[in-house]
Amino acid sequence: MAQLIAEQVLNGLQFGMTLFLMSAGLTLVFGVMGLINLAHGSLYMVGAFACAATAGATGSFWLGLVAALAAAAAAGALIERTVLRRLYARDHLDQVLATFALILIFSEGVRFIFGSFPLYLSPPAMLAGPVRLPGGLDYPAYRLAIILAGGVVAVGLALLIGRTRLGTRIRAGEADREMAAALGIDINKLYTAVFALGAALAGLAGALVGTLQSVQVGMGEPVLILAFVVIVIGGIGSIRGAFWAALLVGLVDTMGRFALPHLFALLTDTSSAAGIGAALASMLVYIVMAAVLVMRPTGLFGQNT
């Protein structure tokens, strides 16, 4: 039982880290550009397809990973330059609509190129087997690698934003666009760079998850909505908030799906208990979000506006 719970906790962490990779880009783009980007899920899908296609053609997962990062960053930079740049000054409704349109275009475009059948992606050979953890638990090495990758990205992002010149510029652009531009920062280039960075993170998430589930059109949408929940809980614009909220959502969702049906089966012995438990578990993260909002309407790490 203890091993089962430990395994579920690790699964929750792994899910949380994937969500973090998604939400980091989303919250960065919102914080710096004030843009709400529904097409972030499409970049996740682009990453997964690029990885699966490249890995399928070359046989190397690592090349696929590189391709995923490059393809998602390129797609992100492209839509930023052509479409999204015109939307920064518009209201959120226009942003929602334009990025909704981008979802339709991306989804149909990918379906046109790859067809409707899902692609499959295998993890690299060195991560294919299980690892024996302290305590005797066998856990898939690949999922452990995702947790590790998420942690590395979190630390890397914190260093990038807190310690480097680019990070200083990003923070300057976030605080005061005009002043940053007056001080000689090329705001247009900076925005493209930030957007490409966020897109690359989404592509990375898509590629990493592509081995756990099938790679298909529409795969980005459920993750996108959970990423919204994450950044609402964490506070929009806060990467630290996104990190903790992503772990919270990942753990709550995974543990809820695991524990609630069992719990209801203990309390009532009717046949519908498992169904009620499953239905409630699927609502759990939204209930957590509602609870956080009641206490702190701007999220856990959000600034009061």
Partner: protein, 326 residues
Amino acid sequence: MTRETALNLALALALPAFVASAYVAEEPFLITLATRAAILALAATGLNLALGFGGLVSFGHAAFFGIGGYATGILASHAQDYTPLMESPFLIEGTQAMLIHWPVGMIAAGCAALVIGALSLRTSGVYFIMITLAFAQMFYYFAISWPAYGGEDGLPLYLRSSFPGMNTLQPLPFFTLVFVVLILAIGFCGMLSASRFGLALHGARQTPARLVAAGIGPFGVRMTAFVISAMLTALAGSLFADLNRFVSPSMMSWHLSGELIVLVILGGVGRLFGPLAGAMLYVAIEHVAGGLTDHWQFFVGLLLLAVVLFARGGLIGLLAGERGHV
């Protein structure tokens, strides 16, 4: 008569004229298509009240659409199986009567909107968009994982619900019923917009601070608009369930929320007949482009992008020019 009034009249007459010609040409499918447009227009008219008049960008109206649909689906499925909905503490039987389905769906959606609104109207801007979206997803996943009424597979209905004095299974009477409901709803929204409440709502959208200075709290005004908006959308959902004789969680999917916003924008935000114009255009594109290519959504995306970037007033803005008042 202003250009917009003339255009509105033309829009109101276009759909019945289309149906009449389809009836003469004996094309029942086209009547069903027009009915679909009218129902989507009704749902978008509800959304327009919150989005266009109140400036509340709700990305979760599919939840209310689905609640209306499931109200019809659940009541009708109990009626067709001859099983009671509830036995204790008192007996509730299923029913096929639309006149019961509608208020049940609308009240259920109104209650859901009260809860969602109480939480989401505390926030604004992007938070509001994301929170309404998240709550709609909550209903969506609940519908998928709740096995009693079909779960993921949905709930088929053998008959269309009944309305006194007409055979709703015939395309023409059903269209007439839907269209009358739609025109009544548009008229209701027009009256609401011109009323004291409507003026307060426009004020809450434009300058909340002045509304407060005038002694009206924006929260109550927005909440009322959000609830009425949800109830109109639920009514459309109930009719949609009858149109397809099928209810499924996809009625609550976020794609539908997005499509409803698209209908409002295509027609023109905050215009009384905008949703109708948008729905007619959207269903026409869906039908024509869907017949030409499987990838029609690609072109809908391009069109939508063009509307957002270059034609911000939507169809009515394009044809009738700038808005005169309010």
